[in-house]
Amino acid sequence: MGVAAPNGVGLDNFEYAIRVGKSGIRFQEKLKELKFSCQIAGAPEIPEEMLSGYFTPLQLRGLNSSGIVYGVIAGLDAWKDAGLTREEKESADWDSGIIFGTGLSGADKFREAINLIDEGKTRRLGSTSVLQTMASGISAYLSGMLGSGNQVTTNSSACSTGTEAILMAYDRIKSGKAKRILAGSCGDSGPYIWGGFDAMRILPHKYNDNPTEASRPMSASASGFVPGSGAGALVLEDMESAEARGATIYAEVLGGHINSGGQVGDGTMTAPNSEAVKRCIKKALEEADVQPQEIDGINGHLTATTMDSTEIQNWSDALGRKGEGFPLINSLKGMTGHCLSAAGSIECVATVLQLKKDFFFGNVNSADLHPDIEKVVSREKIPVETQEVILKTIAKASFGFGDVNAVVVFRKI
């Protein structure tokens, strides 16, 4: 696995961060200059000198797509962590593919291009404008670096993108069409990504002086999600092939489900259809061949909006569990904000780390639980401190604009 999260870049830094509840949400001077209401955000901190370990000097020339930077760091780290190499080979690696999603690629690069085009200087764009702004830029960069010869594509389903990528990879491997797939997602940082959300007035605006307390999943005082960015990556591999290679196996993907609420019922472009969410959870369990009682933990979508209560109710209804019988549940977003298209993959990395390292990270800024949530789930099932606990099965959900859902079930090996 690999990760470039606002609160930690690299697996070790990230594990430490989520164990201690370190926040990656910081004041952003640029957003203040641009008169954003919400002037805080989560972005991975990548020192300039780190880039040469991932990109050639030529690739770095004119590179102005933060999402591609995060995605390449997470992707190459995951590949290496899986014990795989990226040596020069005679032919492409036909057994290995890439499904690496994003919401939008290279907003800053696109702005550069738009400015030049509007000045009548289209010829000054150079050769990298297309590569950095095409949605599939990230999978194209990674495949060139790894020599992948199986399916190489970029999926996009708003905030469920990362979890969807993992399930798409799972399906392809399960159907025998690939041995392994680098699955993940990334998302740009910056005002051109976050501005639209600021305009929708769904971001908190009262925490500009107090950024680390702004993202409050499941809290009575939640006032919107903090925008984030980054990338997460997981190498999914056929069990036989991974065992034969002697690879580090973090967990097993038991199965999952992807669906859409069709924006009917209570579903809209921006709000989930609860019937679809419940169906997605139930189907995921079915496909994973897991009983509701077997779910030890949930890593929710839980963005710190009023929809958190609805999500909790949906989990409770779908699993038929409530109060003290509800599984442990946490949300990473208290520390990272909502990393949008990168959220699902970063949170899957966090979920899987918990299974491998036997802990359940504490919820940050969730001490003042929302009363509607406390009616459904016992306080102790939403821990604010990290617990050292052996969990066998964790379900992870991501929901996105457009009324799309993805739920994946991981099991400890």
Partner: protein
């Protein structure tokens, strides 16, 4: 600016795009950008932009299509500088 100076500037400009380093050591008038230096053809437009900035000239599409070797580039640069 004499030929030698132009060649030296060109050598500096193309260096980040070169994929065949041994061939780059023998960089001379006959060097072919794509065949010898194995430069990705997509990068030729970046080289042209760098050349334009360095020599304060504009290289049109036809000239770019004819810029296959160092000799070609030197001729085009001299011609454009004379026009300017």
């Amino acid at each position: 600016m004499d030929t030698k100076e132009i060649v030296n500037s060109l050598k500096k400009i193309v260096s980040p795009y070169v994929q065949n380093e041994p061939a780059f050591k023998n960089f001379d008038m006959n060097t072919d950008f794509l065949k010898d230096l194995e430069i990705n053809s997509a990068n030729l437009v970046d080289i042209v932009l760098d050349v334009e900035d360095e020599f304060n000239i504009t290289i049109d599409n036809d000239s770019m299509d004819n810029m296959l070797t160092v000799q070609d580039a030197v001729s085009i640069i001299k011609e454009k500088r004379a026009e300017a």
